[in-house]
Every structure is written in structure tokens, then in C-alpha cells.
Amino acid sequence: MERHCTPEQLLAWLDGELADAALEAHITRCEECRRQAEEWGTASDAYRNHLDRSKQEAPPPPRAWKDTTELMVQAPAPARGRAWMAIAASVLIGALAIWRFATPEQVSAAELLRKAESSVSVQNAGSRISVRSKRDKMVRPAVWRRVRVRGASEDRLRGLFASANYDWDAPLSARSYNAWRQSVKVRRDSVDVQPQMYVVHTEPEGSALREATISLRKSDLHPIACHLQFRDNEEIEVSEAAADGEAETPATPNSNRIASEPQQPSLPIAAPSIELQVAEVLHRIGADLGDPVDIESTGGTIVVTATGLDPRKSEQLRAALTIPGVELRFVTPQQASSAEQTQEAAPPVRRAVRDWEQRLSGRFTYEEFADRVLAATEGMTARAYALKALAERFPVSKEEQLSATERASLEGIAADHVAAMRTQVQRLDQLIAILAPTAESVAAGAASGDWHARAQRLHTLSTAADLAASALFSPDANANPQAIRAAVLRVAAALEEWR
């Protein structure tokens, strides 16, 4: 009996991605497949036309698009760039400078600050800043997250900032500047475009501040300095402290306060460490396996957003995630995600169920077998996704900032995922082995020394195995168990690289 086409084959054929003479001949002969292809083809064409018209009718972008040169210059430099890249960037900056000389640049303060907020790297939270007023001077961490003992001078500075509604805990940040700016109802903004930086200047009305200025590095919109002019003629200059040269000093004249109470350190926790703590908590409660939980580092703060979590998981997360400097947000999606689960049942089952059950030798019903395979593939891919996400969240540059203990902890999370994945892959292999008892030998391949690359490889292979296994549930029993088993064994071989 000739097998029908799978939905994937039909859709790929319709989109011109599958040029297969045998398939084409089958579609020509088989009324059922032809009818299905025509129906989907009609729907697909109608949707594309609809999309095209929607695009024509959609509101156009409100501003002119930036040109590519400008985007290239604004793009953050790669972590480990090559010399030629730096030269190319210089040439681009030079070219842009000439262009700007000829054409005055129009930059919106609001847009610039918003971009600066989103582009701030969390690593900067560990850096130090110098704060100078007419009476005081101090070197301190850029971001304070813990409750500390403060001196009188610091209290005075804090009071000044509070009177202006300006965040003293992170004074040199685009987020703090913008939050203050937005808290003022009437203001005048201007942006001075200089060769290496943007200088945003704000004159508010009805604020303790007479004016404020923040300087943002052009290449990555990193805040370099901030100047606050108060109405009582006090002025405060905040700037980055030299990388190694300036040690932390409390606000003068109370220079002994902080040093005398070492049990309450004022240093912020290094940002990658906080991220690791968040990853550990999520891992501990099993919320790193595909739950809609986002971790975002913005302006020195780590925000964990959970979207549409069930109440039990939300409560677990709330109880577990009590890390200073980490903000937890719960979002209820406007379109309930349960729609996915409550929609119509699976598409009409046209599978040769009896044929499958014969091949399963009576060990399982088709339904039991399908449930077990789906559980194993879901378990496998969820772990592969989690491992890949972990590797992406902690690239080498960030991992290098962790202590030995923290690194061990990171390795522990990865090892958990690998061990759980191994169990799922073994289960999957045992199930597929019922249909394909003999397996071709699969080479483990050359082991890669870098766990990031291995995580990526595991993800790729498990996705391929998942796709192969999904053929078991296509409308017709034309899956090739041998090929599925080979795909699963490739994942198993890749897992061996982790031993």
C-alpha cells in the first residue's frame, strides 16, 4: 500500500522546498494528499495575500530608518575583537564624524536614554565610581544593593539625591537618570553630539535639581559621567573611578565608618554571581525547563519575569527567589496561554494504529507507546534547551568572573541537566529499540573541550532526534524507526562526551 505524505512533506512541497519526483507523482495520483495540499495551499495563499495587504496598510515607521553605517558604529564591539576590526571601527567612526560634520545629527534624549538603559551591561555593576561635591568626595561601587552602615557625609549626599528623587544607589546609570527625568513633569532636554560621546542635558522645573547632565559613550551608550546642579548651588560630579587605581573610600570626613564595620560589607555582589544565584534557584525548583521565566539584566538590576505561571509555581518562585538586587515580576498574559491546551484535540488521527501495535508486539497500545515516547522526547529536549540556555547565559567571559565555588556550582547545574537527559535518552532508546532492535553503531565524534560548544551540540542533536521521533505521530505509519534510533543514539554518543 502506498503511503500518504506527511503534513511536513506536503507543506514543504507547497512552499517549493521539497523537489521530489516520487512525492510529486504520489500527490498527482493520490486524491487524499492532493485534496489536502490544495486546501492548505489555498489557505496559505490567502494568508500571504492578507499579510501583504496588512503590511501595505500598517502605519509606516514614524522616522526615517537609520543608515547601516550608523548602526555599525553603534553596535557593541565584540568581546575579543581582532585588530582589523578595531581599525575598521575607527574608519567607520571617522567616516561618520565627517558625515556628521556635514549634517547636524538630530538625536532624541528620550530615545537615547531608553537605548542606553537597555544596552547597559550588568558587568558594569561591579565597577566603581567617584562622587564629588563641594564638601565631600568618595569612591564607591557603581551600584549598591545591600543595607549598609552609612556615614554623615554619605547621609548628606543621600539626602540631596532623595530631595531630587534621584537614585543614590546607582547614580551613574542611564536608568536612574531617565527615572529622575521622567519624574519631572516639565523639562527641557537637549543632546550635544560630540565626537566620542552624547551629552544629554536636562533642565527641569519644580525639582530640587536646577539642571542635570549625563555623558554617554557613543560606541555602547555606557554612562561615563553625570553632573547634577542643585538649586541650593550644591554641585555633584559622578564619574567612573579608574579601573585599579582608586580603592573604595567612604565619604569624607567620616573616613573610618565603613572600615570599622567590616562585617557589613558595602561591596555589591558581582553581577555574574547574582545571575548564577538566580540560575541555581530556578534550577532547584525546576523552573529552568521551559517555564516562561525570563532573566534580564538591565541597568545593573536583574529582573526575573514569570509569565503565566501556575499559582503553585509562582508561590515557589516567590519563596525561593529572595536575592538582594533581584526583582521578581509576575505577568499575566493577555491572551491566556491555556488557549494552546484547550484548543481542539490533535488533528484527525489517520494513522495506521493497528499496524503500529502489531510492530509493538503487544507490549504497549499505540497510545501508551506514543505517551511514553512523547514524555521522553519532551524530557530530553527540555534539558537540552535548559543546558543551551545556561551556556548562553554564562559565556566564557562571564564564567571567568565567577569564583571557583561558583564555577563548581555552575558545573553542578550543567551536570544535573546532562544526567537527567541521559536518563530520558536511555528511555527513548529502549522504546524505539522495540521497533528497531538492531542499531547501527554511532561514532561518539571528537569530544570538544568547551562545555558551551558541547551544550550547543547536544541541543542540535536532540532537536534532530525530536524531529525524527515526531514522524511516529504523523498521519501515516511511514516513519523509519531505524533512522529515529540512529538519531537518538547520536544524542547518547554526544552525552558520552560529558563523562
Binding site: 489557505a43 494568508y47 496598510e57 514614524p62 553596535a75 575583537g81 519575569t305 484548543q343 515526531s470
Partner: protein, 160 residues
């Protein structure tokens, strides 16, 4: 073609498509444009750092999807235009009426789909492959096929 030339070409060709995809996240036009430019800024940075990106167009939509979700969480929702008017040149009133009815039926059918189903449909129409769609919206590859066939079946019923 070097990276800069490839980047320029993709930016010119795809920025409007990405912008329209972001409008489906109920972002206002200004935010959608900002996010689009941010996506390409990140693309260029990633391209320079990694040397090669397997499918830059799919990469762009994946990042646009993530940034679109994040931006939507932060900002107020914007109600996009839903209805699609008659095609250009369709002056015949009868044609216009037929077209309007059909567009309304498609719009109604789209409303009945889940957001993920609509996204799968949209990204497929933008030329992304199953794996790329799965990576973009964080679902399994097999689910992409299920969503797509469900969505097309519903649309087909709507325009019958």
C-alpha cells in the same frame, strides 16, 4: 560579499518585514521601529563577533521575537489596524464587497488562533523553516507542524 555588504543588504531587505512582525506584538510604531533597529544593531555585533551566522534572516526574526516580547511587557499596548482593505485597483464595488467579506473572515479566523499559532503562520510566510520557527518562539519542532496545520485548516474553513 563581505559582512558589511551582507548586513547592508539584509537590513535594507528585511527591516520592513521585521517591523511588521513586531507590530503584531501590539507595539506602537515608534517602539516597533526602535526594536527593529536594535535587532539589526545586535545582528551586526553578533556577526562581527562570530564571523558567520548560519541564517541571518532567521536570526533576525528570533531576536525580534524575544525583544518584542520584552518590550511589550514594559510598554502599553497599542491596538494595531486589523482590517485589510480591498487590493489596489479593485474598483469594482462587487469585488470590493467580496474582498472585504473574505478579509473579515480571515481576520476572524486569525483571532481564533492562539498567538503562537499566528506567529508560526507569520514566520512561515516570512520564509523561516520549521527548526528556525521553533527556535524563534521557543517551541518544539514537531509542535510547529501541528500549529501550522491547525492554523491552515482553520483558515481554509474560514474562506470556504
Amino acid at each position: 560579499m563581505n559582512i558589511e555588504e551582507q548586513f547592508h543588504r539584509l537590513y535594507t531587505e528585511a527591516r520592513e518585514d521585521v517591523y511588521h512582525y513586531l507590530l503584531t506584538f501590539q507595539l506602537d510604531p515608534a517602539s516597533a521601529q526602535d526594536v527593529t533597529q536594535e535587532v539589526f544593531l545586535r545582528l551586526y555585533s553578533a556577526w562581527k563577533s562570530e564571523g558567520q551566522i548560519r541564517n541571518p534572516r532567521a536570526w533576525v526574526f528570533r531576536v525580534a521575537h524575544n525583544l518584542g516580547l520584552t518590550t511589550r511587557k514594559r510598554s502599553a499596548r497599542w491596538e494595531p489596524m486589523e482590517e485589510s482593505g480591498p487590493p489596489a485597483g479593485a474598483a469594482d464595488p462587487e469585488h470590493q464587497t467580496l474582498h472585504k467579506e473574505r478579509a473579515q473572515r480571515i481576520q476572524e479566523a486569525l483571532k481564533e488562533l492562539s498567538s503562537q499559532q499566528r506567529q508560526v503562520l507569520h514566520l512561515r510566510a516570512e520564509g523561516l523553516k520549521y527548526r528556525e520557527i521553533a527556535e524563534a518562539i521557543g517551541i518544539q519542532v514537531s509542535t510547529v507542524s501541528v500549529f501550522l496545520t491547525r492554523a491552515l485548516t482553520r483558515l481554509r474553513k474560514a474562506i470556504e
